[in-house]
């Protein structure tokens, strides 16, 4: 190949960068290598282009996400999108092919219902009243009796107690969730046990052991659990659980528990962001979001309710921030009013509970009626796919509206679905195995705890 005129670019110059990046086919690469031996322009170009490539590569500082994006993304996927073939955490009781998973869930639910109808194996205080199957047009079965709900709660709590580890924890990894969430799911289990109004002495023992575990997993700053990507979830739920445990008769006056609660609340205050909210981790490094913040605010409100002073300013800032997350339609956003996850009112309900607890007088505010309307709107055509987290917050928030037809109807549907979907046979009997969109984070212990809390 002739040497190019210095005034004109070589026709092969466009191979230079591909040559440097080893992107030429072997034959072309060999030809170009031979070419630059004789072509000064291309040789010079290879050298200068090589310098540019090296300079670009030297700028290797990689940006990383400020936090794990999984939760944010999951929150934006409607639960119904996942439900075509729901997975179960434990192996099915029957050897069903994986492809028949969805059908298996239905069959097991029906079988569970029949088992429930015809087997008198529940504790004496339960009344095995049959479930009333009354399709109401949405295919959702409504319960007709409180005893059915009580039975579900009792068997759920029994499963929880049996799943507790000797050290008092519920091991998240053992039940299908990241191990770093053990503190969080232990706290959720505690809350479920604490909410039991039957006063089962076995629950009290289980709660004591869970309290001991959480206290052991609190650092000197007051933080619970490992400093993982979602550490403020762990911390907020644990703080709420411990503060509520401190009110239990069996733990009243426990100095170690009181100290742990005090430290936990101080940590929440120190982790509060300038704007008033909280992020996944302490401080201002994460964008604050309402999902994490409602747990911290619940803890502060519970502590204040228990007589702890000095929290007014933190609560005021948090309440102000939370209130500003409500958009004109009454929906609670995630990190701003424009980002409302399609979770059918979960955040709105959780926020409503906090705001109402912070200032009962605010319930007369127009914003509250807007939030109720948003919740009802989200539940106007609810699917029957499980969302234990949503079920809990929705049923709690609707209680604020007093007795009314909408509340009765929605609560009945939620409870009916929960009772019908509880596992009734095998080693997982009493738990809720059907997954929801948060099961990957909390596993079977989360499913069961939140289902019980929604029923209680």
């Amino acid at each position: 190949m002739s040497k190019p005129d210095s005034e004109r670019p070589c026709q092969r110059e466009s191979d230079a960068v591909a040559y440097l990046q080893d992107e030429l086919p072997a034959r072309e690469r060999a030809e170009f290598a031979a070419h630059i031996e004789n072509c000064g322009a291309c040789r010079s170009l290879v050298e200068s282009a090589g310098n540019v490539l090296n300079a670009l590569k030297q700028d290797s500082a990689a940006a990383v996400p400020s936090h794990d994006l999984v939760s944010d993304i999951m929150a934006r996927i409607p639960a119904a999108e996942w439900q075509e073939r729901p997975e179960r955490i434990l192996r099915p009781q029957f050897s069903l092919p994986a492809l028949a998973g969805a059908a298996a869930v239905i069959l097991i639910s029906v079988a569970a219902g029949l088992f429930f109808l015809f087997n008198d194996t529940t504790p004496a205080r339960e009344n095995n009243t049959a479930l009333s199957r009354q399709p109401d047009g949405t295919g959702i079965v409504a319960p007709d009796t409180t005893p059915a709900r009580n039975s579900a709660i009792v068997s759920g709590l029994a499963w929880l107690r049996n799943a507790q580890e000797p050290d008092g924890s519920w091991n998240a990894a053992k039940w299908g969730a990241p191990e770093s969430h053990t503190v969080g799911v232990t706290a959720l289990s505690m809350l479920a046990l604490l909410a039991d109004t039957c006063g089962d002495p076995d629950n009290a023992d289980s709660i004591k052991r869970a309290v001991a575990f959480l206290c052991k997993n609190q650092d000197t700053n007051g933080a619970f659990g490992p400093q993982c990507a979602n550490s403020m979830y762990n911390h907020g739920i644990a703080a709420v659980a411990l503060i509520k445990a401190g009110r239990a008769d069996s733990l009243a006056g426990d100095a170690a528990l009181d100290k742990a609660c005090d430290l936990a609340v101080r940590y929440i205050c120190s982790a509060q962001q300038t704007g008033g909210g909280w992020g996944y981790t302490a401080g201002n490094s994460d964008r604050p979001n309402t999902s994490v913040s409602v747990w911290q605010l619940q803890a502060l409100l519970a502590a204040k309710d228990g007589g702890q002073s000095g929290l007014a300013e933190n609560i005021r800032r948090a309440t102000m921030w939370l209130g500003n997350m409500v958009d004109g339609t009454g929906q609670m956003g995630y990190s701003n009013t424009e980002q409302s996850p399609p979770t059918q009112g979960t955040l709105t309900a959780a926020g409503l509970l906090c705001l109402a607890a912070a200032d009962p007088a605010l319930q007369k505010n127009g914003k509250f009626s807007g939030m109720f309307a948003a919740i009802l709107s989200g539940m106007s055509s609810p699917d029957d796919r499980p969302d234990y987290y949503r079920s809990y917050f929705i049923t709690r928030a609707l209680r604020l509206s007093g007795d009314n037809d909408a509340r009765t109807r929605i609560t009945a549907k939620i409870e009916g679905n929960l009772i019908a979907s509880q596992t009734r046979q095998g080693p997982a009997a009493g738990s809720w195995e059907t997954r929801d969109q948060w099961t990957s984070a909390g596993g079977l212990v989360y499913n069961t705890s939140m289902a019980i809390l929604a029923l209680e």
Binding site: E13, S14, D15, A16, V17, A18, Q21, E23, S44, E47, S48, A49, N51, V52, L53, A55, L56, K57, Q58, D59, A62, A63, V64, P65, S66, D68, L69, V70, D72, I73, M74, R76, I77, E81, W82, Q83, E84, R85, P86, E87, A98, G101, G176, R435, Q437, T439, S440, A441
Partner: protein, 176 residues
């Protein structure tokens, strides 16, 4: 045992949220880095989320015989292109630098003799060239994969890469 991307996609198709979470965690860093390199200063995480949402949406269109990273970056490129079209939310470095200028790829930095860093030089490239450089240099994709992701011939990738480096030579003060 670590699942391959193909295995995770197969599980996602069957409704596994755990598999989806694993896949997001595996690729979220590189995707955020990808968008930051393209110039999304404040919206890189939003764009990464958008890409994963599209991945979920189109999960059933994924074929195991296709390379996963190609599929992922095809979706990322579409998310980026859409954001560029809308361009209302989120300021990009490129638009910031081009503010007050004609926005053409030949627009010189304020002081053409001053040394500028790689990010600034990259921001001055036309978007089509910048995407190729980012995919090749920072994401480590081969030309063939880039071609698939951008839906252009391999020769186009080669020529765009060449053009990009030539322009960076002019804008990026590299001693030769």
């Amino acid at each position: 045992m670590e699942y391959s991307d193909h295995d995770l996609m197969a599980r996602i198709k069957n409704g596994s949220q755990e598999a989806f979470a694993d896949l997001v965690r595996r690729h979220q860093d590189s995707l955020v880095n990808f968008f930051r390199r393209l110039g999304a200063i404040t919206t890189a995480e939003d764009l990464a989320q958008e890409t994963f949402l599209r991945l979920f949406k189109y999960r059933k269109k994924y074929r195991p015989d296709a390379k996963f990273t190609t599929f992922l970056y095809t979706l990322a490129r579409h998310a980026w292109a859409d954001s560029m079209r809308k361009a209302k939310r989120g300021e990009t470095l490129a638009t910031r630098l081009a503010d007050g200028q004609d926005g053409s790829p030949d627009a010189a930095p304020p002081d053409s003799h001053a040394q500028i860093d790689a990010n600034t030089a990259m921001a001055l490239l036309p978007e089509k060239l910048r995407v190729v450089v980012v995919m090749s240099i920072y994401q480590g994709l081969r030309y063939e994969d880039i071609a698939d992701a951008l839906d252009v011939p391999v020769g186009t990738v080669k020529s765009r890469m060449f053009l990009a480096i030539r322009r960076l030579q002019e804008k990026f003060n590299v001693k030769t």
